[in-house]
């Protein structure tokens, strides 16, 4: 069966070309033309930001915040250094798209950071790369060298008189550093503990300087927008949800992987592209936006389109676009046990409700899974969740509560069966 894969690839279009990651491949297909034009015409920063606003590009890192609006928060006439920071600390379980951008199209990210750096008046940019992908840290540094040698980075870029440089910073194993202010602390050489906001990074960011942080896929979309116009990007997707988006689909599908498709594509289409549920099994549940997004029953998911607004309306989040698929063989208690352990393990320990609460939630789910659950446990889980959500410095607390509350809500009978019968409903 051949599937029609629409020609709407913004970030991963180099796939299928020879040497997809090389500078030559990128420039042969219009790469670096956008920044050339901007520099040659001395395009006003406001014009770039306006195009990004028109495009309805929303942050691809999880929160879906409008990128053009975020960029407009940077102080324009600030005297002193400013920074642009790229977030490739891809650690949200289920998400593996930014790694593919580094592997297959590193130069588009470089060009995106150049354009952002120019539009925001930054003197330099850093790309914070997830600890576990050292090989991509090294290969992206190679791409930087290639760009530097071609006069695209450093002093007097393309003879324009503009100076700007980019560097990679390597993480070393801490999910919390994906949170943007923890990430800044980490670049500064500290423990990655999130900062209290305000002040926001646009006024007090890296080294106390105005800073904009964007996800890898967000920044890699910028050259496409500048080349084809914000309106064209908007039209790839749907109103308020511009563009295509990379969906990382994992779990019980025949062909896990990344699929870059327009926002607003039905989930059923993505599932079909991924070869359907493995072994012809029945779809049970889907986590639509990375492990922090509330789980949805399969039949609810089958009726949804993949865009920020539709998924939010159904009570979950599009998040990072990480779609975790579970078939009928999955014990939801066991799945939640693993997820709740993750948040407990990764809580940075700064805020009491999260540090203590994630441990409590994990221990309760674990005892239910191991046949020691108590009748009052489900209420207790929801109560603890209520005491964490909204009471912490960063959103990790909420992220930890989302799975717990939604698993219990949608699959309550399974949890109750575990508590009453000390064993699993699945396969019983």
């Amino acid at each position: 069966m051949s599937l029609h894969i629409p020609d709407t690839q913004v970030c991963l279009w180099t796939l299928g070309h020879e040497n997809p990651s090389s500078l030559a491949t990128y420039t042969a297909h219009g790469g670096y033309e956008a920044i050339r034009k901007i520099l040659a015409e001395k395009m006003p920063a406001g014009e770039i930001i306006e195009q990004v606003k028109v495009s309805a590009l929303r942050g691809r890192g999880g929160a879906g915040f409008p990128t053009g609006l975020k960029w407009s928060f940077m102080p324009r006439d600030y005297v002193g250094d400013k920074y642009i920071v790229c977030n490739t600390d891809e650690g949200e379980p289920g998400t593996f798209k930014d790694r593919d951008i580094l592997i297959y199209n590193p130069h588009q990210l470089i060009e995106g950071m150049l354009i952002a750096g120019y539009a925001l008046g930054a003197r330099a940019g850093y790309n914070y790369i997830h600890g576990e992908i050292f090989e991509q840290y090294q290969s992206w540094e190679k791409a930087l060298e290639e760009a530097r040698a071609a006069g695209l980075l450093g002093h007097d870029i393309l003879g324009s008189g503009w100076d700007f440089d980019l560097h990679a910073h390597h993480g070393y194993g801490a999910y919390i550093c994906g949170e943007e202010t923890a990430l800044l602390e980490s670049i500064e050489g500290k423990k990655g503990q999130p900062r209290f906001k305000p002040p926001f990074p646009a006024s007090f960011g890296l080294y106390g300087k105005p800073t904009t942080i964007n996800n890898t896929e967000t920044l890699a979309s910028i050259p496409w927008i500048m080349r084809h116009g914000g309106q064209a990007f908007l039209e790839l997707g749907k109103p308020n949800n511009g563009g295509s988006k990379i969906f990382s689909i994992s779990g019980h599908v025949n062909k896990p992987g990344n699929y870059e498709i327009p926002l607003g594509t039905p989930f059923a289409t993505l599932l079909e592209m991924a070869g359907g549920v493995r072994n012809g099994h029945k779809l049970k549940a889907v986590i639509p936006g990375g492990s922090s997004a509330p789980v949805l029953p399969g039949e609810v998911m089958m009726d949804l389109t993949l865009d920020f607004d539709a998924i939010a309306k159904a009570g979950s989040m599009l998040g990072s676009g990480a779609v975790i698929v579970m078939d009928e063989t999955v014990c939801m208690v066991r799945a939640l046990e693993r997820l709740s352990y993750f948040y407990y393990e990764e809580s940075c320990g700064q805020c009491t409700p999260c540090r203590e609460g994630t441990g409590w939630m994990h221990r309760i789910v674990r005892r239910i899974e191991h046949g020691q659950g108590r009748p009052e446990d489900l209420e207790e889980l929801v109560r603890i969740g209520g005491n964490i959500a909204g009471r912490t410095i960063c959103a990790l607390g909420d992220a930890a509560v989302g799975p717990v509350v939604s698993f219990v809500r949608h699959f309550r009978a399974e949890f109750e069966y575990h508590i009453e019968n000390k064993r699993c409903l699945v396969g019983a």
């Binding site: 250094d81 891809e90 650690g91 949200e92 379980p93 289920g94 998400t95 593996f96 930014d98 790694r99 850093y126 997830h130 600890g131 576990e132 992908i133 050292f134 090989e135 560097h167 990679a168 910073h169 390597h170 993480g171 070393y172 194993g173 801490a174 999910y175 980490s186 670049i187 500064e188 050489g189 500290k190 423990k191 990655g192 080294y207 990382s248 689909i249 994992s250 779990g251 019980h252 896990p256 992987g257 990344n258 492990s291 990480a322 975790i324 698929v325 579970m326 999955v330 799945a335 693993r338 997820l339 993750f342 393990e345 990764e346 940075c348």
Partner: protein, 157 residues
């Protein structure tokens, strides 16, 4: 304590940051030190602190915060298997059992001959290629099967 090459690598990394922000290089410095010495002892941490002109406690805080630093000796080959949900759904548990059986150890243990350490890891941002593991923090092995695990282990002397 660290070789000239390691110090040169640290200095190279330090050039990425403004001169007055030398502390920014601490994560790389610890990584480079660990790659050379196998793990981070108190003495190594103190040495790095000295080299970067940082209080030892500040470096120790960093070394203890990030999961990939080893504060105790590990085997020559540390394999960190991702067991988070997407990898679990794709069969990581079966791989975990196989690794444990072949090595004769549990997670967070080292074989008596000092050859292998087995660790459990969190999502490594490559779930589509799971189950997968990381060899000595820097090399990823994807699409693991019991057979490919056997082959990998045989290659790691």
């Amino acid at each position: 304590m660290l070789s000239q090459e390691a110090l040169a690598q640290i200095d190279q990394e330090a050039r990425k940051y403004p001169a007055e922000q030398r502390q920014s290089v601490v994560m790389s410095a610890l990584r480079i030190a660990q790659a050379e010495l196998g793990w981070l002892s108190r003495e190594t941490i103190a040495f790095v602190a000295d080299y970067l002109d940082m209080p030892a406690i500040a470096v120790y805080e960093v070394a203890t915060f990030y999961n990939m630093y080893d504060l105790e000796p590990v085997g020559r080959h540390k394999l960190t298997l991702c067991t988070n949900l997407p990898c679990q759904l794709q069969g990581a548990d079966r791989i975990a059992e196989h690794l444990k059986a072949r090595m004769g150890i549990d997670f967070n243990e080292t074989t008596a001959d000092g050859r292998f350490t087995l660790k459990e890891g969190e999502c490594m941002g490559a779930c589509g290629s799971g189950p997968l593991c990381l060899h000595n923090n820097h090399r990823m092995h994807t699409h693991l099967t019991p057979e490919s695990v056997d082959k990998l282990m045989d290659e790691l002397k």
